[in-house]
């Protein structure tokens, strides 16, 4: 794979994480637990959509075949999506969404930070902008997790269950595939094992403060990075892509 296509594939993967998570988050619009929290959540979702747009546009430029951000978002089937399984998981209640958010952001903030130092200028510029947003998101999700974990018996039990349920999707974040390795070697990209160590340390600290138990090591689901998704992504994309599928080429 040429260097340009390599970066295009990597940027697509980052864009997919951002877009799919944003699509999950906006399910809380008009359904948030509190007005202020709903507004914050919607703002964060917009941050992620902004990141997805930047990554997709850049992927299109690197690829050089004239694909736009909309082509990436609206005109790819699910097996061409390369997001992590974690971000596509549905949520039953606010605690599920919060745990999903926290586990991903504690990883993503380090991934972006590492990308600011990579040798591909386009990626490093986008990462530098995104990392500022995600630092704040992580602060927000950490504080909520501590509040719910160290809150009432019911809130504690619920977020512990969310954590136990979603833990099996965390391994995929740190399991490098060929693309991760190539970006690391050729472009001074992120070292996933270093990020995993930082992630474990920070997640442990927050969970401890939240009086939550770190789930045991277990079998980890993977496949998202290769386009093998859980059944949930198809439904998510069906809603996301409905308009372009029903009315191809429709524009404002």
């Amino acid at each position: 794979m040429s260097d340009n296509l390599l970066i295009a594939a990597y940027a697509t993967r980052l864009g997919d994480n951002a877009l799919v998570l944003a699509q999950r988050m906006i399910e809380f619009v008009a359904a948030g637990p509190e007005l202020e929290e709903e507004l914050a959540n919607a703002n964060f979702a917009l941050d992620y959509i902004g990141q997805a747009r930047m990554f997709y546009t850049y992927a299109g430029e690197c690829e050089g075949e004239g694909r736009t951000e909309d082509d990436f978002a609206y005109r790819r089937p699910e097996h061409e999506y390369r997001n992590l399984l974690l971000v596509e998981q549905p949520h039953g209640h606010f605690g599920d969404a919060l745990v999903r958010q926290f586990l991903f952001e504690a990883f993503y903030v380090h991934l972006l930070d590492a990308l600011t130092r990579c040798s591909d200028e386009g990626l490093s510029v986008i990462a530098a902008r995104a990392v500022k947003e995600v630092r704040y998101h992580l602060r927000h999700s950490s504080e909520w997790l501590i509040r719910l974990g160290d809150g009432t018996d019911e809130s504690h039990a619920r977020v512990q269950a969310s954590l136990d349920d979603l833990w099996r999707f965390t391994g995929e974040m740190f399991a490098p595939d060929k693309l991760d390795d190539e970006v690391r070697e050729l472009f001074n990209g992120p070292h996933l094992e270093i990020i995993e160590a930082e992630w474990r340390k920070e997640v442990r600290a927050v969970l401890e403060e939240a009086t939550l138990a770190v789930p045991d090591d277990q079998w980890m689901a993977s496949g998202g990075k290769q386009g093998r998704h859980s059944e949930h992504l198809g439904f998510l994309l069906a809603e996301l892509q409905y308009l372009q599928r029903a009315y191809p080429g429709a524009s404002w």
Binding site: E34, L35, E36, E37, L39, A40, N43, R139, E143, R147
Partner: protein
């Protein structure tokens, strides 16, 4: 499930260094820290501020509307306390 109303906090924002904090509105929050982040997320999305104060609304001691005249009327006829006899240069924006 019992749903408790979160307490109300008043939000004050300083738009840039050198100016004073101004009241911009209020937010609900479960505690002080959350009030600060809610204020940040609600009122500074468009880069409106460099500093935020929040204070629980029930901690503010307010003047009684019924006593408005007793409080403020005595100052009504003391026009000489206003600095209206000075010419202010156009360049001065914040006085």
């Amino acid at each position: 499930m019992k749903q408790q109303e979160w307490p109300l906090y008043e939000v004050f924002i300083r738009t840039r260094s050198g100016l004073s904090h101004r009241h911009v509105g209020s937010v609900h929050a479960a505690d002080d820290d959350m009030a600060l982040t809610n204020a940040r997320d609600t009122y500074t999305r468009r880069k409106e501020g460099v500093s935020i104060w929040v204070v629980r609304s029930d901690r503010i001691i307010a003047s009684d509307p019924a006593e408005t005249s007793a409080f403020f009327d005595p100052a009504e006829d003391k026009i000489y306390r206003h600095p209206t006899f000075y010419d202010i240069p156009d360049e001065v924006e914040n006085l």
